[in-house]
Amino acid sequence: MDGLASVSSRKWRTGLAVAMGRMAGWVSRAVGRGGGTALPGLVVDRLDPGALAHLSRQLPGGVVMVTGTNGKTTTSHLIRAMLEASGWVPIHNASGSNLTRGILATLLRHASVTGSLDVPENAIGVFETDEAAVPRVLRDSRARLLVVTNLFRDQLDRYGEVNAIAQQWRDAFAALPGSHDLRLVLNADDPTVSALGRGLATTIRFGIDDPEIGRDAPDHASDANLCPDCGSRLQYRRVTYGHLGAYFCDKGHARPTPDVVADVLETNGWDGTAFTLKTSGGARRISLPVPGTYNVYNAIAGVAACAALGCDLEPVASAIANFHGVFGRFERFTIDGRRLVMVLAKNPVGMNEALRTVVGRGGSGHYVLVALNDHDADGRDVSWIWDADFEILAGQVTQLTISGHRADDLAVRLKYAGVIGSIPSSGTATVSADLTGALDGAVAGTPVGGTLVAIVTYTSMLEIRSSLVRRGHAKAYWDDAGVNTTAVVPR
């Protein structure tokens, strides 16, 4: 019985790998390296490359993958909360460790040394997946849903160009076996992403319809200049964010009508956005407690995914109303009577949205800290700051603090954007690579009762957070594995 023998040897092999991976995680924590979120996954993947498929295919509810340049962490957390409210038990790589090893590490916590997955009958995988890892995770996990938030220019030194990523994904879709029943949940407003569903009847799309929001032209950082159907130039009736919006070409191709829509957006500064959610089940008003148009996209991406899974709208909507953001992406703190709002910005589009939220409340005299690091997790190439529209800060800022390892590059950018020169004589502009000291100075310079906005790259966020934790202004973040992920700042 060849089949039986291979099944049992597969279990045995995965089981042994699970045991070794567990040990690696235990050793890592015991020697105090912390941050060992993904190490067990790495060990298992090396020992048994079939483990990801073997374990993830045991999930009774199947797997939902979430990818895209911006918003995949927030969207996957939203989907997790929505599914929990709908009675599912999500198995989720919540720490944002989104390569194969991070997903495996999450599965390992529920795996036995016999290679079987010990989860309840209503368990479902929610895998935030790095763009580059999509083909492998898709193939191995046989995911039933792939949610794509958007495709923007991110860290070109890591990923390659937007068109190249989309092509890799299309190749991966084409290589799936006929038995793999995959549905795509796509952003209708992103030309490249929406085109991934071309010719697939089961695709669900989401988008923003509000004619009142947005601009006439794409950002400078636009990545989707050409129509994905015919290669001619794209035009826009309306741009919501980056190159997202109501696009069309003069050969008659246009943004498809989305199935899940957000309309009548009403922004409430850093406190969030209200919008009308329209689905085939009707319309309802929803308050999303995290700011920015991009988070509205994340919310409706989650609604579309849950609709594809057959969830009721009621618990899904309540999960949105109770959502307060994800560690490090957007957080509010109180320090010595000042409000500190920390926003992650890792690429031009994210930076533009953060800058627009700073100035969006009107008035001027803002207190702003911007920090730029160039570790691997931030992207080593800091060119992207020249694609972000820092110009909109000119004349709006009283206290500007520029920090991070590449503070000097940022200072030059803010000079040419006219921001440094526009600061009133009563204000200050400071450049300091020492982030902790810069933050202290910026907080001290913010009046009591005022708001300091810190716009930071990934590792600068970790630095600020660990400094706040040390001094009791913030709680440490413990991931599902009990690992303190704020204790270690990657070099």
Binding site: D223, L226, Y416
Partner: protein, 275 residues
């Protein structure tokens, strides 16, 4: 994008940005912004004209030309336009001594050919005496900070130029061609022969972005000086306060070429404050 200075009645310097709406990868906008601001701060009237699909480059029309990167598809898309509509004007401008800066993807396009490793060679315009070969996806890309010694740096100008490179293709310049710089740190054209970029008359092709000009104000002013000279017959550029620019330049030197003397030896570098 059109920027005008009001403080001077002198003739306008016209900067042509080739395919400015298509080739805008790697923050090419930073280069254009630095060229225009540095003119404006000196009350030199300047105008940036986007040279799009179908637009020809007339003789004497531009005082400076800039060409940036782009996504792969974008470059294939413009290939036909480049050969049929732009080639003659661009070649004429280079022969006429117009300063040109071509970065990364467009640097490759101006060589004899690009050999993608898989599939047929793609012809280039042949304005630069060089060609590019892609060694295959399994060979690592050239990615990281670069420091070069600028061979043609003007007398008494700092000679170091810093930037960031990210290219798969390896470029080899002809035996008679002049390199833009000698690599001090990083890969440059091919990681083997120590050359970076190429110079033909007043045209510079280079892999350095980052953006290139913000951290290299001496190179920006070199190009502006050539452009202003074309327009007005002479150029004595007023010095600007470049301490932030040189500080950013120095940070890269400190990381990768700390053996070089501080480039900004003549410029005071106040630290810790932007003003």
């Amino acid at each position: 994008m059109t920027l005008r200075s009001t403080a001077s009645a002198r003739a306008k310097v016209r900067i042509g940005h080739l395919y400015g709406d298509l080739l805008n990868l790697y923050a090419d906008r930073g280069n254009i912004l630095v060229l225009t601001r540095r003119c404006e701060w000196r009350h030199i009237a300047v105008e940036v004209v986007s040279i799009g699909m179908g637009d020809r480059i007339g003789s004497g029309e531009f005082d400076l030309l800039f060409m940036g990167g782009g996504q792969d598809g974008d470059q294939q898309f413009l290939g036909d336009d480049l050969f049929r509509v732009k080639a003659d004007g661009l070649r004429g401008a280079v022969n006429d001594g117009v300063p040109v800066l071509a970065v990364c993807g467009s640097y490759q396009l101006l060589g004899h050919y690009y050999d993608p490793g898989t599939g047929p060679r793609l012809a280039g315009l042949g304005i630069f005496d060089m060609h590019t070969v892609h060694p295959g996806r399994s060979v690592r890309r050239c990615i990281g900070d670069v420091v070069v010694d600028w061979i043609g740096a003007p007398f008494r100008s700092p000679r170091s130029v810093v930037g960031f490179e990210n290219h798969g293709g390896r470029t080899f310049i002809g035996s008679g061609a002049r390199a833009f710089g000698r690599v001090v740190s990083g890969n440059g054209n091919n990681g083997e022969d120590g050359t970076e970029g190429v110079v033909q008359a007043n045209a510079i092709g280079t892999y350095l972005h980052g953006s290139l000009l913000p951290k290299n104000p001496h190179l920006a002013d070199y190009l502006i000086g050539k452009a202003v000279t074309r327009r007005t017959g002479s150029a004595r550029l007023e010095p600007l306060d470049d301490h932030l620019e040189w500080q950013a330049h120095q940070t890269i030197l400190d990381r990768h070429a700390s053996h070089l003397a501080p480039v900004a030896g003549r410029v005071k570098l106040p630290r810790g404050s932007a003003r």
